[in-house]
Symmetry: C2
């Protein structure tokens, strides 16, 4: 069975030596000194390692069952959920006014990485709640907040997001769920929603559904959509639970992975709902939560890679097979551990260098979310909007790839259920799909984000990279291994952007046929940047002679691997982009 | 539920217009005229589409069960197996002297692709038999052949290969299974083997196990290994079945995929075995079968990609979502089919251009096997030996990737069991692992095959590419889209080989740290070559105005996509290779 050890040391390095959180002027960050963050991470680590991780396989094997409308979660999930509630983890970054702990989103991200690595299917129950909490917090009336938030933030109630219908996922303008206004100001919601994660389960007293539906008088397509709160049990004036609402789970999806999470068909049969936010502005309400939700999925992607890597590494150190080609390394054993072999090391370093870079990238994104929300930093808000599809798309594609590489390290054992690596692969796979497929992320990036603010945000990104390189040019240690490859990669990204500018206007296909490659190109440059930042910090600590010197050396070597072996992919992506629409748009659909 | 349509048209194109089989001087090929191959392919298509494909999901869901030593295969497998037997498919390319049909290995490959696409887990039962038949055919005594082959070729009995033990897979020198000589010339075999595909099942009257074991007097490591025939039921002089041998299935593996195939722990408790081939030369006997087995696995890889692509394409044509950015394509519907979107087309073309290239590559490899075996063509034998690790490693890595891309085309539906795409992903995953992991393939390629015959074979490969380019330089249609990119890619491959020559001698790590990238670089050049050959044939048919003109145009466009969008990966692989051992070998194992 796989094991999990929370990477608190690496997290502390990023928080304090790379992002310098306690020195930041983002409100609330001043409290995040080393001891405080260490204490939080240690507590989350305990819960992850001892409670959640052992339930990961149980959840996969048992899955969820639906009987007479009741969904049963796997053995032990309810007890673990109660522990999570009691620890106050569900409201970690929520508004203290409603019972939250008021921590930065960044801390919540670090903690979430652990929870997801330990048990992704389990953590989705509270993860989805978190999205619903954000929606009510941002768009709810004072009455709605008071009515729903305290119990949701405490974890007594959970929440869901209901978007997809059988005939539409990406194209939400096509939804058919109807909202009929009632005399008392409420609405009757009727329709069927699918793929609703945690739509029904046995862990909380109530479930607060947020549902996209069409009320009369809106325009065609997405313009007619509004967002509604539909509780499973009606909530009385005094806060007690009333009668059951006309919403029910009509079926569970049988899936490739995340079996411990109930993916539900939800039927609304004239269920009572309450408008949240402005009428016919439901899509806008959804979009304001999207950055957070998508960064959360990006985090899931690399978090699965992280735990898979740990287990691959453990195997590679133990498994004896063959001899190191230049000389025996384990003379007392029948063979050497396979970690001596160059190709096994290459494979492990592909995993390690991605995971650690991804962690820094995601944490940086979370910090920008905090800057935007807590400080009103408009530039950070723009930057994180630009980077959100990259964090989601690139980190989940590469996170999945990492689980596949880790599985490969184990050879035949990786294919067996016994060793558990195959579950990481199956669970990670969904992250490339939900919360907008990665293809959709790439369209968002190229079709909307590049042009936002008249292109000023992408220019600000390039400036940031340029400035970093310039400011550190005197750092000889950093130059060859980091700054030079970063400069090269960044040039590739600029050239791709230039190609879109020059060719996308006359024919948008020229840009859209390259959107996916652009997303990956961008992701590599971001990881190249954060690796350079991490290397700079590590070199500084090496010079000052403080801290764990082996840790810093390892950090630099791992970064050098990324820059030498992974970053050069930018040239390939650029070359594909520059072929434009040619070869992609020629074939008739009938001839594929 | 997914569907399958056998690609007989594409197969005929490769057989006759690219490989020109009936014009070849390989003995037996003269009978392979268009009508004959069409008839064979059509029959295999019927069996695949109507019998095997509908059982694919059944096999996945039911899996195999072990009770009191008896393994039950999924419902319908036995009946399908009987149909396969009665059709004579099991002995299609086997020796007519023992009841085989004597067809070329190439025809068997084409037929196998269909069987594998339709139902990989099912086809493994006869696939493994095929390996055992080859072993006995090549290394068995006349008595052994007469005793075992007729029933195996007819499919009344099946066969297995027993190599792996719990503590060793790749490093077979470590095996512990013992063979003790008996007075009657037989051996008592004792030991435990794991991951034995089709080790026990209910489809045949007898199972003939081929087992690697150590007999006294051999050297250390692989030198002491011999190969033994161990029948499940003893075979009497008159051919009837005798008593049960002391071999039994001790357990079934629970796996990520190929659930319809029984992966067994096999226990040999002093079972009676018979030496096959020379004493202490068991490894050599295994190796002579390895090219075929590995090409067979490469075929499995792209065959899973092929069926996944078909189903992704079907979905992309049906699913209505969004509008084509430059203008509505389906004005009568609520949205356009997603195949209109550039990124969906890019994804589909990644799949299509790989699958069709892979098919041509695998068929070419099979043709060389025939040339080697039927004509004694030493050069073909060498060339296919060189290319075998590329066919196995590259086609399975990319085949798996293709199933993942296909799954992505379906968005959320791709993650559900209902649509079946996720099964192709899970089934394809094993092909990167078994029959030697792809890491091992890359070591075989760089560590052994490059240097074989003093490097003459790799030089012959380069000459072949060069000659093709030179001979067709006058073909303007071919030049820009095919010959130029092929030349560039081939130069990258040569540069990589040169790097190994110059740097691998002084430090083998410089070569081994790049072996995996070299395998992929090589694979791309091979697909670039076969795509150029296919394009040449298609252009010729377009010019002559014969045949299905749309087919040829599509072939050329698909090839242009490969050359423009996939082949440039060679430069990335070269750049990684040229970083050598640096960054791969520096870290201590303790610091990963």
């Amino acid at each position: 069975m796989p094991t999990y050890t929370a990477p608190t040391k690496d997290m502390q390095f990023i928080l304090h030596e790379v992002l310098n959180v306690s020195g930041s002027d983002i409100p609330g960050y001043d409290e995040m000194d080393r001891d405080t963050t260490q204490a939080i991470l240690d507590e989350a680590a305990k819960l992850s390692e001892n409670v959640l991780a052992p339930l990961n396989k149980v959840g996969d094997e048992q899955g969820c069952t639906l009987e007479n409308g009741v969904v049963r979660t796997p053995e032990g999930f309810k007890a673990a959920y109660d522990q999570m509630r009691e620890g106050g983890w569900i409201g970690l970054d929520c508004d203290p006014e409603y019972g939250g702990q008021g921590m930065p989103y960044l801390m919540n991200s670090a903690v979430s990485e652990m929870f997801v690595s330990a048990n992704m299917a389990f953590n989705m129950y509270q993860g989805l709640s978190h999205g619903a909490i954000s929606a009510i917090q941002t768009h709810g009336s004072p009455e709605q907040k008071a009515k729903f938030l305290p119990n949701m933030i405490e974890g007594k109630w959970s929440g869901t997001m209901n978007l997809t219908e059988p005939h539409c996922g990406t194209d939400l303008g096509l939804i058919r769920t109807k909202a009929e206004p009632q005399d008392d100001g409420s609405y009757k919601i009727t329709g069927s929603k699918i793929w609703i994660s945690a739509g029904e389960h046995d862990m909380t007293d109530n479930i607060i559904h947020l549902v996209l539906a069409k009320a009369p008088g809106g325009g065609e397509g997405t313009k007619g959509i509004s967002l509604f709160i539909v509780p499973k049990f009606m909530v009385n004036e005094d806060g007690s639970l009333g009668e059951r609402n006309a919403v029910s789970c009509g079926g569970l999806e049988h899936k490739m992975g995340i079996n411990g999470n109930a993916t539900c068909v939800m039927n609304y049969d004239g269920a009572t709902g309450y408008l949240i936010g402005e009428m016919h502005k439901g899509m806008r309400a959804m979009f304001t939560m999207m950055n957070e939700a998508r960064i959360g999925v990006g985090l899931q992607g690399y978090a699965q890679g992280a735990v898979a890597y740990q287990n691959a590494l453990g195997f590679a150190r133990e498994r004896l097979q063959g001899r190191e080609v230049t000389g025996v390394k384990n003379p007392d054993g029948p063979a050497d551990p396979i970690i001596v072999h160059p190709d096994v090391r290459r494979n492990l370093l592909m995993q390690k260098s991605f995971v650690e870079g991804a962690r820094a990238f995601a944490f940086w994104g979370a910090q920008m979310i905090d800057a935007a929300h807590r400080k009103g930093d408009k530039e950070a808000d723009n930057m994180v909007s630009l980077l959100t599809p990259v964090i989601k798309g690139f980190l989940t594609d590469k996170g999945f790839e990492t689980t596949v590489l880790a599985q490969q390290t184990l050879g035949g054992s990786g294919f067996t259920k016994e060793w558990g690596l195959e579950q990481f692969v199956r669970d990670a796979r969904i992250t490339m799909i939900y919360e907008g497929t990665n293809g959709i992320q790439s369209l968002d990036l190229v079709g909307r984000k590049l042009a936002m603010n008249g292109g000023k945000t992408i220019m600000a990104f390039f400036d940031m990279v340029k400035t970093f390189i310039k400011e550190n040019e005197g750092n000889e240690a950093l130059k060859a291994g980091f700054l030079n490859p970063l400069k090269k990669a960044s040039k590739d990204l600029q050239a791709a952007g230039m190609y879109f500018m020059q060719n996308g206007m006359k024919n948008p296909h020229n840009a859209l046929a390259g959107s996916y490659d652009f997303m990956h190109l961008f992701g590599h440059v971001c990881l190249g940047l954060v690796w350079s930042q991490m290397a700079k910090a590590a070199y500084a600590s090496l010079e000052s002679g403080t801290g764990d010197q082996e840790f810093y050396k390892t950090k630099i070597e791992t970064g050098r691997f990324y820059m030498a072996r992974q970053l050069p992919a930018t040239a390939l992506h650029l070359s594909r982009i520059e072929t434009g629409a040619d070869t992609v748009m020629t074939l008739e659909a009938a001839n594929f």
